[in-house]
């Protein structure tokens, strides 16, 4: 390990060091002053964000080719760090209200973000696995953060058991790939396959197992079943972060590993990817129709959104549309992150202790009593549907377009039909808020309102200049190693 290596991954190194220090410092912060911990955590994230942005998009390898930092990684890191900042804003008041104020919350959150960042840097299957565990374990703990609450503990245990199961699949896949090629670094795998078509079956099975493992993280049907239970049981501020961060990290790893190391598998895997995307879109949207609990509704919505994201992944082996499709995925993730965090901010504002205030009926009259919250939530629902003038519209537009470009018109059509179905359950929230009488009570914590407001403004504002955002994404992809 040289100084250059450390400098390359400086943002990550700083974040990990800061988090570890925070864990210690927190011991001396009295229980009624945990706002300081939150502030320190936010500062650490902001510092890392600044460092990430400052280091530019020039691709650089480090640690003997184990990690790489490029535009793709930086773009995703910005999403992770910004989501982290937002979820601190969401958590601050929520933890107090739910009576679960404990300082390690923030350290765990920051560790999870470190794992996600490492995931985007990973250029070796061993690092991929390390990152996967680093991001998963804090999330298992955070899911069960409402100690003594059965739902939360059940969620944590389920997430942990099934997560371990899927980690096992990933590890098994890595082992098979190593057996087939004798390499674990991504370029090495590619080179080995090109040189001598070793044991192709073993290689294929290994690749498929990796796909399954990451599909689990991204909540792709049929590996999604943990998601609704965990999303519902975990504290809402954790769910918000998880549904953005863990999903984006899963897709990032999928993209990086498959694009760099497994282009030779694309002909075999394309029908599988097609099927996963189609099933996820249809299943997620249809089951969401029957949900009346907001947290579960958003969970299925997030599964459906994974289906759209998967669509970007289907043509990953086609060199011509590759940069377009990755850019479309990054673009969609920005819109998805903003929309999701904003929507969860509203959910958290309405939620009450002991899991009350989460049913659809609890939103009746919200739009009349709190016009700003209602308007923001409407923006988020429209963005989820993919209706203009929101970022969600452009996200889907670019995704569907790359699907058509890659020759998967049927998939794009399916996505379109699924989106139309999704309008039913998203708009039901809007109908509830504005057209049903009710006397809801919402908590208007300034940080919550700020998160919801900024997200809503960004969702609408960016939709006016989608070209600029897409160009950023395209530039990030250009620097992909």
């Amino acid at each position: 390990m040289t100084l250059t290596d450390l400098m390359t991954i400086l943002p990550l190194a700083v974040l990990v060091a800061w988090t570890t220090a925070l864990l210690l410092v927190d011991l001396w912060i009295p229980k009624d002053r945990k706002g300081i911990t939150a502030l320190l955590a936010a500062f650490g994230l902001a510092l890392t964000l600044g460092l990430s942005l400052a280091r530019g998009q020039q691709p650089r390898q480090a640690f003997g080719g184990m990690v790489v930092v490029d535009g793709f990684a930086v773009f995703l890191d910005v999403i992770f760090l910004a989501s982290g900042l937002a979820s601190i804003a969401l958590a601050h008041d929520y933890l107090k209200r739910m009576n679960i104020v404990r300082g390690e919350y923030y350290s765990l959150l920051l560790y999870a973000i470190s794992g996600m960042m490492l995931m985007t840097y990973a250029y070796d299957l061993i690092i991929v696995f390390l990152a996967l565990e680093l991001l998963s374990i804090p999330l298992y703990i955070l899911s069960g953060f409402v100690r003594l609450n059965l739902r939360s503990e059940e969620a944590a245990l389920k997430y942990f058991l099934l997560g371990t199961f899927s980690s096992g699949l990933v590890l098994y896949g890595i082992a098979l790939i190593f057996a087939a090629t004798a390499r674990t670094d991504l370029p090495g795998i590619l080179a080995a396959v090109e040189l001598a078509p070793a044991n192709l079956t073993m290689f294929l099975v290994g690749g498929a197992l990796l796909l399954v493992g990451f599909s689990f993280k991204g909540a792709i049907v049929p590996f999604h079943e943990w998601a609704p239970d965990v999303y519902q049981g975990a504290p809402s501020s954790v769910t918000a972060f998880m549904s953005v961060g863990a999903k984006a990290a899963g897709f990032a790893a999928l993209m990086r590993v498959f694009v760099v190391a497994f282009p030779s598998l694309s002909t075999d895997l394309t029908p599988v990817l097609w099927g996963l995307a189609a099933v996820t879109m249809v299943f997620g949207n249809i089951v969401a129709l029957a949900q009346t609990n907001l947290k579960r509704l958003l969970a299925y919505s997030s599964i459906a959104q994974s289906g759209y994201l998967m669509m970007a992944f289907v043509p990953y082996g086609q060199g011509i549309v590759l940069s377009d499709t990755i850019a479309a995925m990054l673009f969609f993730l920005v819109g998805y992150a903003l929309t999701t965090l904003g929507a969860w901010a509203v959910v958290i504002a309405v939620e009450k202790a002991e899991g009350r205030g989460l049913e659809l009926q609890d939103y009746a009259g919200l739009g009349r009593k709190y016009p700003l919250l209602g308007a923001a939530m409407t923006v988020f629902m429209l963005s989820f549907i993919g209706a203009p003038p929101t970022l969600g519209f452009w996200g889907k537009f670019y995704l569907f377009r790359t699907a058509v470009e890659g020759g998967f018109t049927s998939l794009a059509l399916l996505g379109l039909v699924a989106s139309i179905f999704s309008a039913y359950y998203y708009l039901r929230v809007v109908v509830m808020m504005f057209m049903r009488p009710g006397e809801p009570e919402a908590r208007r914590d300034p940080w919550l309102v700020l998160t919801a407001g900024v997200s809503a403004l960004a969702v609408v504002g960016f939709s006016l200049v989608p070209g600029s955002l897409l160009n950023l994404a395209l530039q990030a992809v250009l620097k992909l190693l």
């Binding site: 199961f165 796909l211 989608p466 897409l470």
Partner: protein
């Protein structure tokens, strides 16, 4: 743009009013009327300052400059930006919009103070100025756009603001819904025009692969003539909607339901001239399609004549001005149709001055009448009769009680009638000269229209300001405070001096604009055309004096003109029954079709399908959610089954 950093200021013309409206939206409630009016006027005023700076910069660097702001739509090879175009044409429009706009903002701070109280809802003061600034934003986007799509955004934006402001008192008007109806009519009629413009934009994109002005105009000469004809004619449909030309002009008279500053700013000075601007902007396209040019010119000339005849038979002070606006827009459209783009733009500028002046002065008259009405009601039995303060039959003799308003109104009316050396004389004369050189038939139509123009303005002057007061309200009318009269005086000065923009022989505006227009034919100043138009104008005024000044018109008597014209007057009074015709031919059959589609088709068929689909998918959903049983072992099993299926597919296919 090296060395001309001033150009990069252009986005601020849009940002400043945006800031203004956001400020008013967020903190306006706490600021009170003074603060709201100040912020809104300042936002518009600063945008004017920026426009002046741009004009100064253009003097040194007259070539068109494009200032990109942000990427907008990026799809494969197709790129479209939010980009501003700074050239002499766009800056001319910016100067008019922000300059006249600022004066009207100032006036409105005073006018709306009274209006919201008269209508009984002072809370709406803030809303008015938010809409007003929003309009400035949309209008500036329209004129400063560098591509047709951004222009269309502005085009729709001004339409929206027009709708919102016509229906500003949406619960007022005939049957408590009259104003809302007027707003709806404006919106729907404009929608027909917008549809045409949209088709034109589709065709442009389809054939040129871009929507940027420069890219399209560079390839215009190579395009198929039939295609260019289609594009320009569809564009003309958009023009007839926005600029109130035949056959879509019917919305503008109803639009007078909006508060008077709205009529002045949107429905006289700026928005309705967007169509003229569009044709001037697209001059490279129109020049390639002579048939379309001819159509445009004829539409303009016929509209000018038709509207001028209707204006003669109206009693509402604002309706007269509305038809006059339609008629004058007809002059401009005819001009740009004949390729006399400079003449059209010149008339657009001077018309913005004197028509804004006339509307604002009419507003001042209405305020004076309302005041007189309230004053009279105090002395006598309360609520003796509801009196229409806009009906000219109730006025008369106001020159003695409203001195300033009278003088500025006189200036505006004479400028509109085309009396030398006021602004309207020069600009109208340039259009007439162009028509005389190109198409004598159009020249004849326009000269007749000019005669009617002078006549109905004379009629209005005599009915409103001379003779004896014909109602108690008119007797007790009084002059308005300075915040109302000062903008009027400024506009009156502009209406006097506006002709200097393009004096024959000097042609400042022509040399200014020729850098932006495709082809500017030389319009010669023809002395006898000028003399003829002056003679016609004087004749019209004289005839009005003969009819309306000799015998005093008693209260609610028939118009003296009706005695000479008989049935013809009834026809113009009823606006040639065009509204009734549209009602019978288009609106009613359309309604019947809509009712048919709504009842059996939609409720029966469509809803049946939709509800059926809905209940089917819900029951599927209920079935599917059973998989979600909460047991970890079954979840793990599902994962395993998933893995097995994928492996089986991969290995044994």
């Amino acid at each position: 743009m090296d060395g001309y950093p001033l150009f990069s200021l252009v986005p601020w013309t849009v940002f400043l009013p945006v800031i203004g409206l956001l400020l008013n939206l967020l903190v306006g409630k706490r600021l009170g009327e003074k603060g709201i009016g100040l912020i809104a006027s300042l936002a518009s005023g600063l945008a004017f300052v920026v426009s002046v700076l741009l004009a100064i910069a253009l003097k040194g660097h007259p070539e068109a400059v494009t200032i990109p702001l942000a990427e907008w739509i990026t799809v494969g090879e197709f790129n479209l930006s939010w980009a501003f175009r700074v050239d002499t044409l766009s800056v001319t429009m910016m100067l008019i919009v922000t300059g006249v706009g600022t004066l009207i903002h100032l006036y409105a701070t005073g006018y709306m103070h009274n209006d919201v109280r008269h209508n009984g809802d002072p809370e709406r003061y803030r809303r008015f100025f938010v809409f007003f600034n929003l309009f400035i934003v949309a209008m500036l986007i329209l004129v400063s756009a560098d591509n047709y799509l951004m222009l269309f955004v502005g085009w729709e934006g001004v339409g929206l603001c027009s709708y919102l402001l016509i229906g500003f008192w949406f619960e007022k008007g005939a049957d408590g819904i009259g104003n809302a109806r007027a707003a709806k009519k404006a919106f729907i009629v404009n929608r027909i025009g917008d549809f045409g413009l949209l088709i034109a934009i589709f065709l442009l994109f389809w054939n040129f692969g871009t929507l940027e002005f420069d890219g399209i105009f560079a390839k215009a000469a190579q395009a198929a003539p039939a295609l260019l004809l289609a594009i320009t004619l569809f564009m003309l449909l958009g023009v007839t909607g926005k600029s109130a030309q035949l056959p879509l002009y019917v919305w503008l008279p109803d639009a007078m339901a909006g508060p008077t500053p709205v009529s002045a700013l949107i429905h006289a000075a700026t928005m309705v001239t967007a169509g003229v601007y569009l044709v001037a902007r697209s001059s490279p396209l129109y020049i390639q399609a002579p048939a379309a040019q001819m159509t445009v010119a004829w539409v303009g000339a016929l509209t000018a004549l038709l509207a001028a005849t209707i204006a003669i038979g109206q009693y509402d002070i604002k309706k007269v001005l509305a038809y006059s606006t339609i008629s004058q827009l007809g002059f401009m459209v005819a001009a740009v149709g004949m390729g006399a783009f400079v003449a059209g733009m010149f008339h657009l500028a001077t018309h913005a001055f004197f028509k804004a002046l006339l509307f604002l002065a009419a507003g001042s008259v209405i305020l004076g009448m309302e005041h007189g009405e309230e004053h009279a009601a105090q002395g006598h039995s309360p609520g003796s009769h509801e009196l229409d303060p806009q009906d000219m039959r109730n006025m008369g003799g106001l020159q003695g009680r409203m001195r300033t308003t009278f003088w500025v109104y006189l200036v505006g009316a004479l400028a509109l009638a085309g009396i030398a050396p006021l602004a309207g004389f020069f600009s109208k004369d340039e259009i007439l000269a162009a028509a005389f050189q190109q198409t004598p038939a159009i020249f004849v139509l326009l000269i007749i229209s000019a005669f009617f123009t002078a006549f109905y303005m004379g009629r209005q002057l005599f009915l409103v300001f001379f003779g004896k007061a014909r109602s108690a309200a008119a007797e007790h009318a009084r002059e308005n405070p300075a915040i109302i009269t000062v903008p009027l005086i400024i506009l009156a000065v502009l209406s006097v001096l506006g002709g200097a923009l393009n004096l024959p022989g000097v042609y400042t505006l022509e040399h200014w604009l020729e850098k932006s227009l495709a082809h500017v034919p030389k319009v010669e100043f023809t002395a006898w055309v000028a003399l003829l138009s002056l003679a016609v104008a004087l004749a019209g005024l004289f005839l009005a004096w003969l009819v309306y000044s000799q015998r005093r018109m008693p209260f609610k008597d028939t118009d003296p003109l009706a005695r000479y014209l008989g049935g013809l007057f009834t026809a113009v009074y009823n606006k040639w029954w065009v509204d009734e015709l549209y009602q019978a031919v288009i609106v009613r059959p359309y309604r019947r079709l809509a009712e048919f589609l709504a009842q059996p088709v939609d409720v029966g068929l469509i809803d049946g399908i939709a509800n059926g689909l809905g209940s089917v998918s819900r029951s599927i959903a209920e079935q599917l959610r059973r998989f979600e049983n909460g047991y970890v072992r079954s979840y793990a099993l599902t994962i395993l089954v998933g893995v097995a299926v994928i492996m089986a597919f991969l290995l044994f296919r």
